[in-house]
């Protein structure tokens, strides 16, 4: 399996290398769909210039990267193209290995369940075969590397690619069962963009499951492990933040990065939901609605982790998708990360209901973004409402996609316990309805 992966990597790198040299790169570096104020390459360059001049890069309101990123690029600025390509490669390989391991686990569990005769008799067609699971890791890598969204994001040198790599490494170390590494990568991811904080829960659940510790509030072992993992996480977060402080000798980065993410002062249009709302809103409602919008990202963690506590990897997928939909400065790079997971849920395909609709919506919206941007900004004939309408539709499409997968997953689990052909009490055929 290493050979196809290498081939995919080579193809992906070739495409990126060609595009880096083409005029498309200059175009993409400005596109609001691909770069946000948080991860635009131009801003990184500006920050580096300030740093070289001996000025704090956070003076002024241009630079919003974390200190670690600026120091990374301080050393590798000449090889920036390569760094971004390598980051994409790392993400793909990490996801590949993670999914491979996860699939092994799934298959093992399924075998035990089969041996224990726990599935209803008519559910055999829901059982997953090694044959169909064999190519899934490769498909994941393929989906990530050849997704136009990832390619655009990489060619525009959006630092979103680096964040994706960190999250992918976190997923890999979690699935491989290394609590310490998982905590460290989670801390780095949180440090980079706060929102991955919500991935703490699925990571914890996965490791508990791996160590056969039941999730019960009355068990000391549960509390012991939670405390252990949380302290590793908080400890490394603390170390990284302090390290950043010592690198720049100032706390400026806290308001400039995290304040910027949470209070959303920059209302440049993007594919997210924030900009239009807060551009239109009266100033005195702003704080309240900022809270409402931001809680949106974090709040779903609770119901989802209750519902999906047996399936932490699916929970992780849901969380990443929710983050990329509801975060304050989303770009297409964020979307590509959760889209890479779609092949893992191939077996849910038969239960998906709106995939055609969603695919059409996402396709049409992706084509309409640049068109409406052109009409609004260059031709001056359309206005922001047109663009926002498409943003809204795009996000509705994403939400439908995620909820469709959620429904399909739950439905499959339901069938695995209750049998595939449900009967009503009177014996007629029943259908499941989500209300």
């Amino acid at each position: 399996m290493a050979a196809p992966l290498t081939l995919v990597l080579i193809i992906a790198v070739t495409i990126r290398a060609i595009l880096f040299r083409s005029s498309l790169a200059e175009l993409l570096i400005e596109r609001v769909e691909v770069v946000s104020p948080l991860n635009a390459w131009k801003r990184v360059v500006e920050g580096l210039a300030l740093l070289d001049l001996g000025v704090s890069p956070y003076s002024g309101d241009v630079f919003h990267e974390t200190p670690l990123i600026i120091y990374l690029f301080h050393f590798v600025i000449d090889y920036a193209d390569i760094v971004f390509m390598v980051a994409d490669g790392i993400t793909a390989v990490a996801l590949y290995l993670a999914v491979q391991d996860y699939n092994k686990n799934v298959f093992r569990k399924q075998k035990y369940a089969l041996e224990g005769d726990r599935y209803p008799a008519d559910c055999l067609e829901l059982i997953r075969s090694p044959k169909e699971m064999y190519y899934i890791p490769l498909k994941v890598a393929l989906f990530y590397l050849l997704n136009p969204f990832t390619i655009f994001s990489c060619v525009a040198k959006s630092t979103c690619g680096l964040n994706n790599a960190i999250v992918a490494l976190f997923i890999l170390s979690t699935i491989k069962g290394s609590a310490l590494l998982s905590a460290i990568f989670l801390a780095v991811a949180t440090y980079q963009s706060i929102y991955p904080l919500t991935l703490f829960v699925p990571a914890l659940l996965y490791q508990l499951q791996r160590l056969y510790i039941p999730v019960s509030l009355y068990r000391t072992s549960f509390w012991l492990f939670t405390l252990q993992y949380a302290s590793m996480y908080l400890g490394s977060l603390c170390v990284i933040v302090c390290l950043s402080f010592f690198l720049l000798n100032t706390w400026d980065f806290i308001p400039s990065v995290y304040g910027f993410i949470l209070s959303v002062p920059d209302l440049t249009p993007n594919i997210g939901l924030f900009w239009y709302f807060f551009a239109e809103m009266f100033e005195h409602f702003r704080l309240f609605f900022i809270c409402v919008f931001q809680i949106n990202v974090f709040f779903y963690t609770i119901p989802l982790s209750v519902k999906l506590k047996e399936h932490p990897v699916f929970l992780m997928f849901m969380q990443i998708a929710i983050i990329s939909i509801f975060k304050s400065y989303p770009t297409v790079g964020d979307i590509s990360l959760y889209m890479a997971f779609l092949p893992v849920w191939n077996h849910l395909y038969r239960f998906l209901r709106n995939i055609f609709l969603v695919a059409c919506v996402m396709l049409a919206c992706s084509a309409l973004f640049p068109v409406l941007w052109h009409l609004w900004i260059y031709a001056g004939s359309a206005n922001s409402n047109f663009y926002y309408a498409i943003t809204l539709l795009f996000n509705v499409g994403q939400i439908l996609l995620v909820s469709d997968y959620f429904y399909a997953f739950l439905r499959r689990e339901h069938h695995l316990t209750h049998g595939l052909y449900l009967k009503r009490k009177d014996g007629s055929e029943a259908t499941l309805v989500l209300k």
């Binding site: 052109h374 031709a379 004939s381």
Partner: protein
Amino acid sequence: MGLLSDPNRRRALTTLLTRLNTPLCVVCYLAGVAWFMGLAFQPFTLRTYMSENAMGSTMVEEHFPAGERALAMGREFSAHKKQAGGMPVDWLVKAMQAKGLEVFTQSFSRTLPFPDENKERYMVRGTNVYGILRAPRAPRTESLVFSAPCSPQGNDQAVGLLLGLAQYFRGQIYWAKDIIFLVNEHDLIGMQAWLEGYHHTNSTGMSWTPLHGRGGSIQAALTLELSSDVITSLDLVLEGLNGQLPNLDLANLFYAFCQKINVLCTIQGKLQRNDWDSVAGYSHAVQTMLLMVLKQASGRPWGDHGLFLRYHVEAATIRGINSFRQYKTDATTVGRLIEGMYRKLNNLLERLHQSYFFYLLPSLSHFVSIGYYMPAFGLLILIPLLRALDLWVQLEGAAPAAVDGLVDGEQPSSPGFLSVMTPVVISHLTGVALYTLPVLAQQAAVEHFPVSETEAVVLTAIAIYTAGLALPHNTHRVLSGQGTEEGWRVLKLVAVLYMAVLLACTALINFSLGFILALTLVPVAAFITPHVPRIPSALAMVLLSPACTLLFSVFVYQELQETPVSLLDGWSLFLSVISQGILDHNLYGSLVYPLISLLVYPCWLLLWNILFWK
């Protein structure tokens, strides 16, 4: 959410949509066409009204007295032009300086990719002369442009009037915006050079000398074309590059002043009629609107104003027409009309933005806004979507994991990714060839065939277009053996969705182009399968292909202009339209040619491929 989550209701809806698919498509098409034709019916349109407060309620008076002097100046200009054999730069600079303007010149040169036979030019070299009247009343942050092209055939009266107005404007104290008086040579090429120089951009690889003087940001621009001393009516030209239109308030302003000064005004060369309830009146409105649609769809600038729109400047061309009518208007009146329009534009506090940017005009006093005409397009675009839904349901049905995931059986091998991708890639490569080869290969073509460069370009384009019909079909068989029943369904699904997205994007940028393409492409997309009788369908497809659409448009346009042409003349006109389209793309960056060759034509080839699927 009920519809999206309740499987029973969904099933009911999908069966309804699939069973009634064909009738629904036919109804949608007819309804779309009927809606569009209904747009010209006066009760369904809105009256134009001035939205901009700064131009609406304020009163201005027009006093321009010196029409005769302006015409004399025009005659002098004409004499000097003849003498210099082009733009009389020195004379014009002196004349403008004498009027008290700050005068600057800009020279430019441009080699066309191939000779333009309509205007007989290849290596273009020229000079623009412009004078700036500085605003006495305000900081010089905004400006208005008044331009008159210097062309070999006439238009001297316009230049004369421009000079006369400059002299008169100089004496007035109320100007709050700089007024730039521009005389541009070689019509659009000169205008392009001047605009690029003014805005420090270079999008088309033209070489020009930088401008030494500039006013503030340009708020609005008018171009005047006059070729006789007296006129019977004034025609307003709005269609700009890529079908962009200026804000409707500019048209309203023109209309309001024509009413006030009592000048006959036309649009698309058609006078307004009052008998909207008669058949003749309605057909007159339809003709006017269709002319606008055809002109807009062509994507070319129909006057020198057309390039301003790209820079976010509202602009229009006013064209004086002298016909056999009794009632004549003299140059003084035209001057007063323009004076009035500039005084109102001078009052603007911000750019024109209040009124509509997306509209169609069945007459100058009535307009159709985007909200009214988009449903016509929406109905057409619904057809490919319905078809796509139908195909999706069929594909789902063919795969055993059917409705609601409850049917068992082994998944058959799905049609190979390759068998679908190959036609897509090959069609697009043909498109790329159509886009690049005509201009690249002209040298070789001229050497080997007895044709001129222009003919070489056009004929190469047509040759590649025709060769494309023979090339891509059945390519999938080379790779994946026999094409399957599912193969063409998947390919058609891809093609139909592709077309829907493509047409939707086109219609947003240029409604007319999108609508005309939808009118011809949508029926093709709807009916084509490998099982329809091959020869008549192939004939129908060719007749509805993008090139034939263009041919029909040429004939319809001539018909509507009331200058019908014979078949042979129509054909030569068709050839010149193609060469103009390629030139427009190369010179001004018009997007129609690349759109057709890189996207629409490959999309049509995909459908062609399906017809010959075996």
